[in-house]
Amino acid sequence: MASMTMIQALNSALDNMMERDPNVLTFGEDVGYFGGVFKVTEHLQKKYGAKRCFDAPINENGIAGVAIGMAAYGLRPVIEIQFADYMYPAYDQLVSEAARLRYRSAGDFTAPLTVRMPYGGGIRGGQTHSQSPEALFTHVAGLKTVIPSTPYDAKGLLISCIEEDDPVIFMEPKRIYNGPFDGFHDRQVSPWSKHAASEVPEGYYKIPLGKANIVREGEAVTVLAYGTMVHVALAAAEEAGIDAEVIDLRTLVPVDNETIEASISKTGRCVIVHEATRTSGYGAELSAMIQERCFYKLEAPIQRVTGYDTPYPHSLEWEYFPTPPRIIKAMRRVMEA
């Protein structure tokens, strides 16, 4: 076991999979010689050669389209979209093509590719380096969407994604690449090495897709979160002194309905937290699902704490970012009802 940052854990996942399976290769903008702008692919080109880890032209739909062709051939490409915000040019390839090859060919062709993309705000990245477009993928039949919140999960989940026979969108919360972030932007960020979840085995292990993780047990209210927001929700629960159960969803599609239902049945209250804009966001799906399944267990209306329905503002990002005080307010509101 070694203490790893999320970046190191992701690098280790790729390293393990490239070692195990010659069909695994990775490419994207600046991914090869430079090792990725966030260094997730560092040393891989040196170790596995330029044919297995290489730089791509600045053309996201080309990167996605080429990966689909490779996957259809029988390889397991892992592509990096440098920022999730740059995914839009690749969207047609992912939605109309990768997601549907299996269905439209009645199982004749498949596209087992993994699309990695750093997402989320809180890094002074402005409107084009801060977005959380997960709902654009969770709405698409044929895709799976995965978002880790710790180094340990990041590695185990990425390995599962690469082994999946269906296309997976793997979104990396870049705000917590180097250390967990609790949402108090004026506090010193502790490095991952101070946290148990940075203890990551060097070798191969998997965390199954579709299984959520109860990261804090509680009786009073269920807080549903993923990615960076898991840490912000945990900080909010501590700060508020509320006996909250915090669930890290890990996989958004297929979501772990059983864990969510069991928790809501116990607490009767729910707060959903995500960074993405609110309207038609993934929280809306969670909220509707809980309403359909747990209505008679609910003791208060479900609350959402999210980014606002505006483009991501550069200098006002701390006004935009869901912070512990906003989550605490929502928790108090559901506790009062």
Binding site: N61, G62, Y73, L75, S96, A106, D108, D166, V255
Partner: protein, 416 residues
Amino acid sequence: MDDMSSRKSNALDLHIPAPRARPGDKPDFSGWSFPEPGATPKPDIDESAVEMRDFAYGLIRVLDMEGNALGPWTPHISADDLRRGLKNMLLLRAYDERMHRAQRQGKTSFYMQSLGEEAISIAQAMALAPDDMCFPSYRQQGILIARGYPLVDMMHQIYSNARDPMKGRQLPVMYSSKKDGFFTISGNLATQVPQAVGWAMASAYSNDGRIAAAWLGEGSTAEGDFHAAMTFANVYRAPVIINVVNNQWAISSFQGIAGGENTTFAARAVGYGIPPLRVDGNDFLAVYAATQWAAERARANLGPTMIELFSYRAGPHSTSDDPSRYRPADEARQWPLGDPIERLRDHLVSLGEWSEEQHRAAQEEAIETVRAVGREAEKVGVLGPGAAHTRESMFEDVYKDMPWHLREQRDEQGEA
């Protein structure tokens, strides 16, 4: 900004390209130049893209309009293979004709013929190896026919009946057959071109010997995917052939709207450093030879080739289209490069390997084959009320293993 007085004396003006002839006009092809058959030299397969610039503006032709094969591009192809090519084109035309009619009779929702372009899919499929992977657009059904995919299975899909290999999920003409090297077709245009490049890159990565070929219409070259594909193909020297079928019409928009007014589509390759070939698409021998040249080049690890296949879409875009509303009614018949079937027939006749009688017999045989297969397929069923496939099957193949939410939706629907 509508204030006319603000117009400058040197006012700019917007140009909207328009074809030379519209309904009621005489067809006018005077804008085109048609180099003589046999006049274009044949470069070595390792010729540099820079040296091949002129091929983007010329036109490789082998057959003259009397059926003689001329010049260095004349391929070595046996009379048996030529007859096979001709018979496949006749079969394709008969199949298209019957399926087009079936749509008119309400037996299917939609159909797209390849009338006038039969040489492209048939000759190219014959020039490729049987296990090369094709990433077709929706007018290359001839590839499946040339590769021996059962005609009856194609019809089952057209009719969305119980034996439809795509289980009633795909538009009728959007076939798929991995074992025949025929990639599943998308309705979103040009998306298959970067995929073909990726497949070719994967083949090279795996030290395989197979190459990929993609087809798109001249209209779709305006899509970003085409340019992405050209970039990646050139950068990584992918063993791929990118075929642009210039049939002049993208539904009702003439090729000038796609950017072909002042240049050729093959010329796009020049900027990417990819060798261009511009070929008479109605000349079976020229299409075969150009494809063979590009395939040899790819197999020799020399990278991609782009081929513009200059043709004319003689039929409507689809059964939902009426070309007489946007082009002269007799324009297709006036196309100076003629009909691909008649031209190959004339060639075989001139070789003494074919006769008018044999041709008529082969034509009738093709029609009879299609008729017999049609009866067989229709016996299984045609598109109609009460879909042939079970409701449960709708939920399969979305993912490898059905997740809980789809299982629930499937079961919920079953209760309704």
